[in-house]
Symmetry: C2
């Protein structure tokens, strides 16, 4: 087990330096590599396979709810970007500009899309004429560019991969319903497939998407008590339609403006998975997105029949699961450490004595618990073990969040809680005034994450100013 | 049928103006829309769904041959682009440059990738150390940018979608084998799934990819006799490895350079499908990539039981095929024209008399042939009808190519053939001298498409200079 130990020692322990632990894990699990452009990363096969699994599940959910995939150009001319005032103010400072093409200076510079509302609106203005053309339920998978100052793999990169849904509706009610539907799809995906508990809520006005009337979000607490905004869904009203001249003839033959939404999730979800489930041995991947769900490791592989049996089990399990047989001549200890590092949910060990007893051993990545499983009915046992692991990951993450969530009714209580308990969520009442929001942040370091849909009444007054409270806000530090 | 006629009349007939026919089809079949940036197109749902089907088939073939997907950054710094001399000479004139980001002028400008050899090489230089790390078999799906002067939807756009494979091998033999393997995968995909016959061959040196030692290609003849380069596969030797300092320790513990390949296909394949199979009624899609493989149209839908039966058939067929039921109140004639325009391979008509006789009518998009099919065993009958259509498309395209291919042994014969027969392929012998290649192009208008793998000896001497011939070349006009 010497190699095993050595490999594990390469990761900085989480409690020593969480940021360094994160960097160690993404590099050593071979999720990504740095590139020659600061803030732009290389997705290596293992990291990209996680993204492909995420895409495959979400894409099916989008299509099942009637959405169609499209692809818009990656470039936005400056004049197009400027058509919606709030939108350009929000994004212009962080775009990358193309100024030359084909050896010539462009007559008008173009940015690489930071998001595609403007492109979708331009297209909608071409193709939407009548109420019969609505709703338009579009999604695209692509990469976008935001020229961030501080970057970290998956969490904040200058180029990142995402999906962006853009929909157009005849009525505000329909558009709001869509905004909520997609937020719920994101929440369900996180809670079930990623085993990450989330808080669903609405952003305060100061934290809305540039150009939106409402921004909904899901917030997930990471292992260290900080919050990750894991998905957003925006309701635009008819602001973009008016700015881009998108109109349709309604059933009464009147020319009117449609109502719009957009919603997105990104590769930062992978960062969320790492920081929610990972431990000092490396990654822990929820089964739904794990590139390898179960790794088979033959024990005493030189003994007759062992590798053959292992291959037979691989072939059986490959019909239902993503399975890998490692029959290389690396030591068992090295293999254990390697696949723990890579977060493979289950390890199946099979040796001569197991074969004799028509059984194998399954080890869970969650807690290294070992289960002896009869080979008859192995498929079902693996399925159960994966679901047990998934549920265990969720429970562990939920327990972390609950342990780190504290209700406070005064500013002093917030400060005391952060001192006593470290980073986490603070639940506190708010009057709705942006000045109080700013003051809480300035004095305590936590900022508004969202106004949770699940409201509680902790007191009647704002935690900051003492005036009547309008909403309970979830506060925290963010990634 | 008044509406039917009207709809069809909107398409310019192929023989009147092939280019206009093409534009009419891509727009009226709702494959794409123009955008605010010249040469960048919007892929609408129907067009993008074709691409998704292409991706899904090719991706499975790549994975089955051991390739892994990755994602590289979209930006290449100028200094990285310049590392391989031939490569930068080939691509620098047609790139788009990003010169500002986050409100500041960049210290070094970056281009949007026109292709990613340089990015893969940089990454390989980080991760390849030993012969145990080889081969690296990578692929990525992304968009690339080449600032072309003349653009046409799908065929030549400034941004286009593609896949680019990049592999690294210990020996030249392995790398050449890979180059050929991927060309064969492209050829099989075209011949079987797209029903497009292709000529496999090698590009002459003047037509190689920038930086390659060898470029293999598949060439497909379009309906109008012009040729489309539909896929390429390049062998680089160790040129890029040397330029980027990619080295590995071989089994003899020597530090040596690995050998590299790349290979790509793009959304221009969709243009190829349109121009190979389309007709004056619109698109004709091969079943493998058709977003709708069979459309069900109820006849006399107001009669009791018709829409119910149609829905029942839809549910049955949806288990095996991509099927759509159109029970809208548009006229049958309008629907016939609409789905012909969209190239749906099969139309299933079902009315009261069919229901009584427990049968339906299947109409092929290939030739409008009608077949009465018993409802028992409908699934198998649909499968056979799709395969008959696919084979028919292939035969038709092959017949077009054969009719338009002519062997010539003198320059005068080439000119005469082009005058007599119009555009098409000319087979003619070549001495291997670039001057003769240029002269053929200059004097006759056709240029070298490739040196086919399937060689013939038409004469002993070069068609141009009369010196001894080395190879038979396929000449033609190209898209």
């Amino acid at each position: 087990m010497a190699q095993d130990k050595k490999l594990v020692e390469q990761i900085t322990p989480m409690d020593v330096d969480f940021a360094q632990w994160y960097t160690d894990v993404v590099l050593k699990a071979e999720l990504c590599d740095y590139s020659q452009v600061k803030g732009c990363m290389v997705y290596e096969p293992y990291g990209y396979a996680i993204w492909e699994n995420i895409q495959s599940i979400l894409d099916a959910k989008f299509k099942a709810t009637g959405h169609e995939n499209v692809y818009m150009p990656m470039f936005i001319t400056e004049s197009l970007l400027q058509k919606e005032k709030d939108h350009v103010e929000g994004f212009a400072p962080e775009v990358a500009w193309v100024t030359e093409g084909g050896g010539e200076k462009l007559t008008e510079r173009m940015c690489v899309r930071p998001t595609s509302e403007t492109l979708f609106c331009e297209h909608f203005s071409h193709v939407v004429k009548s109420y019969r053309d609505l709703p338009k339920l579009y999604n695209q998978w692509c990469s976008v560019v935001r020229w961030e100052k501080n970057t970290r793999p998956f969490l904040r990169t200058r180029e990142f991969l995402w999906q962006e849904g853009h929909t157009l509706h005849a009525t505000p009610e329909e558009a709001i319903e869509e905004t909520e539907r997609m937020l719920n799809i994101y929440a369900d995906f996180h809670e079930h497939d990623l085993a990450i508990p989330v808080v669903k809520g609405r952003k305060t006005d100061s934290d809305k998407f540039a150009g939106a009337e409402r921004t909904y979000c899901i917030e997930a607490m990471m292992h260290d008590g900080k919050s990750l905004q894991a998905g957003t869904s925006h309701y635009f009203g008819d602001g973009f339609s008016r700015a881009f001249g998108v109109q349709f003839t309604d059933k009464e033959n009147k020319l009117v403006y449609p109502f719009q939404t957009s919603w997105g999730t990104t590769t930062r979800m992978i960062g969320g998975v790492i920081m929610t489930h990972g431990d000092d041995s490396g990654l822990v991947l929820p089964p739904a997105i794990a590139p390898i769900q179960i790794v088979i490791i033959p024990v005493a592989a030189h003994k007759p029949g062992v590798t053959e049996k292992a291959a037979e089990l691989r072939d059986r399990l490959a019909k239902c699961y993503r399975v890998k047989l490692d029959d290389s001549d690396n030591s068992a200890g090295w293999k254990y450490a390697q696949y723990e590092m890579k977060g493979v949910p289950l390890r199946l060990e099979i040796g001569p004595r197991d074969i004799e007893a028509n059984q194998c051993v399954i080890v869970s990545r969650l807690d290294r618990s070992k289960t002896v499983v009869p080979l008859d009915g192995l498929e079902a046992a693996v399925g159960e073990a994966l679901e047990t692991l998934r549920a265990g990951l969720y429970e562990k993450a939920l327990a972390n969040r609950e342990r780190r969530t504290h209700a406070c009714v005064t500013m002093d209580e917030i400060k005391q809680s952060l001192t006593d308990n470290g980073d986490g969520y603070i639940k506190a009442m708010w009057c709705g005034d942006e000045a109080c929001e700013d003051k809480v942040k300035e004095e305590t370091g936590v900022q508004s994450r969202c106004i949770p849909f699940a409201q509680e009444t902790l007191s009647d007054v704002c935690v900051c100013c003492g005036r009547p409270a309008k909403k309970m806000v979830l506060w925290g530090k963010s990634y």
